[in-house]
Amino acid sequence: MFRTAFAFLKKDFLVESSYRLSFLFNIFTVLVSVLSYFFIDRLFGQTIVSHLEEFGVNYFSYVLLAMAFFSYIGIGAGSFSSQIHNEQVQGTLEAILLSPAKIYTILFSMGLWNLINAAIEMALYIIFGVYLFHIDFSKINILSSGIIMLLSISSFNALGIISASFTLLFKRGNPFNWIVGTMEGLISGVYFPITILPDWLQFLAQFFPITYAIRAIELAVYRNYTIMQLQREITFLALFSLILAPLSLRIFSLSLKKARKYATLGQY
């Protein structure tokens, strides 16, 4: 398993490092994004102060952490699907699936590089936040943050595997990518606290794990909330993981079988 995972990691690193400018542009993208929210905060930050009281921070601090966190788990969720699509387009998916490596090992290994990239992106958000904008992370509860992170990764990776199943079967027009990439941005509190939203959207937000994850990470990082204080969020995230993880693997296995039956593994 480790040999396969390392082989994917090495291959993806070699491919990505052959596009030298790409990494540099990623850094600038993060910086531009941070700067944009900094100025949005200066313009409109005061108007949503009341919605941020429970987190004890201004809009810029709130959105920076949410973006950093979402960039990690969001990219993680999309990584399986995008990797499957890339391998289909490159024509290498069939060659990979001809090997006797276990399908779940292949799937996990395919997502590794993107997860590492996402971790670097998250670190960039934090570094810019601390060193350029002097955001105070000193109240962080490390244990709570770690648990939230793990549970979020688990439920988002499960969503990512379901998303990859759609890509395997339908190639494009993946509804899960849309939900994770677009819909969750609107209703889950990444760009603003969900208390701003109308009631019906707040109700809808309860069905997305990211809603619990964002609220919990904000409280753990800025308000030093303990596991006990975040009981509700942690329970929901754990439930999402417990339900989604086995479900996603089953769905992927069925999709692979269907793609083999329709002889569309290599098509895109």
């Binding site: 040999r3 490159q90 024509g91 060659a95 339908f170 002889a263 290599g266």
Partner: protein
């Protein structure tokens, strides 16, 4: 003689590509294409089987089904004692499929880096990978393995496809139009390599598809003439001559007689 591949009653129909509409039962009933129709045969270890047939005969589909990339609708395939669909992971170690696909490599990596990656997927450790890659590069007389894949010619890429297909030393080698796009010397070299090195020396079993009668004649021990997913004839050249009742016929004539083709 011991049979390495046994194909029993394989049937495959192709339906239109899967869509959400079809999955929800909203799409109109579409025409299906019969790719393989109740195909059965066996192949002994150390033999070369050449599958001949016009375009759309089902040749590549058959290879992909044996290699577990496509699931048949019906039937069973046993390779080295392992059943497709049941023992896929074990079976894959015994099979090497070389498709007529230039695209199936990472073009921004070197040839060696590509082989290194696929060797890892086949479970070769670092030392064995290095040894095996050097051995294959030597065998195929390749001295450009450290150049980027996108700088290779079609023939060079083909050699890498073959090296990848046999990197794990499979017992059964499946080749889809192995000499397509190769110049004459490379094609002769490849045929000799498969015949002399892989089959005669290492007792590998080979199944290949081709449109070229001359190539098949030179290369195969047994021939299968396939059309619209049905075996029209299978056997050695002499057996096929007897089958069509033309004692002096060449493979081309037998092919025309069986497929009623106007061309070869």
């Amino acid at each position: 003689m011991e049979s390495i591949v046994t194909v029993s009653g394989i049937t495959k129909e192709f339906r239109p590509p899967l869509s959400l509409r079809s999955l929800l039962g909203l799409a109109a009933k579409n025409i299906t294409i019969q790719a393989l129709d109740n195909l059965s045969f066996g192949l002994s270890r150390g033999k070369i089987l050449g599958i001949l047939g016009p375009n759309g005969a089902g040749k590549t589909t058959l290879l992909k089904i044996i290699a577990t990339l496509i699931l048949p609708d019906q039937g069973d395939i046993i390779v080295n004692g392992y059943h497709t669909g049941k023992d896929d992971e074990k079976l894959k170690s015994f099979v090497g499929l070389i498709l007529d696909e230039e695209r199936s490599f990472y073009w921004r990596l070197t040839g060696r880096q590509n082989l290194d990656f696929f060797a890892a997927l086949y479970g070769l450790n670092k030392e064995n990978t290095r040894r095996r890659i050097d051995e294959l590069l030597d065998l195929f007389e390749v001295d450009y393995a450290d150049k980027r894949f996108d700088s290779y010619s079609t023939g060079m890429k083909r050699k890498f496809a073959l090296m990848r297909g046999i990197i794990h030393n499979p017992e059964l080698i499946l080749l889809d139009e192995p000499t397509k796009s190769l110049d004459y010397p490379s094609a002769v070299y490849l045929r000799n390599f498969i015949r002399d090195k892989l089959v005669k020396k290492e007792a590998k079993t080979v199944i290949f598809t081709s449109h070229h009668m001359d190539e098949a004649m030179e290369f195969a021990d047994i021939f299968m003439i396939l059309r619209k997913g049905t075996i029209l004839g299978m056997g050695t050249l002499d057996e096929l001559r007897t089958f069509v009742d033309k004692p002096a016929a060449g493979l081309g004539e037998i092919f025309i007689t069986l497929t009623k083709s106007r061309y070869v």
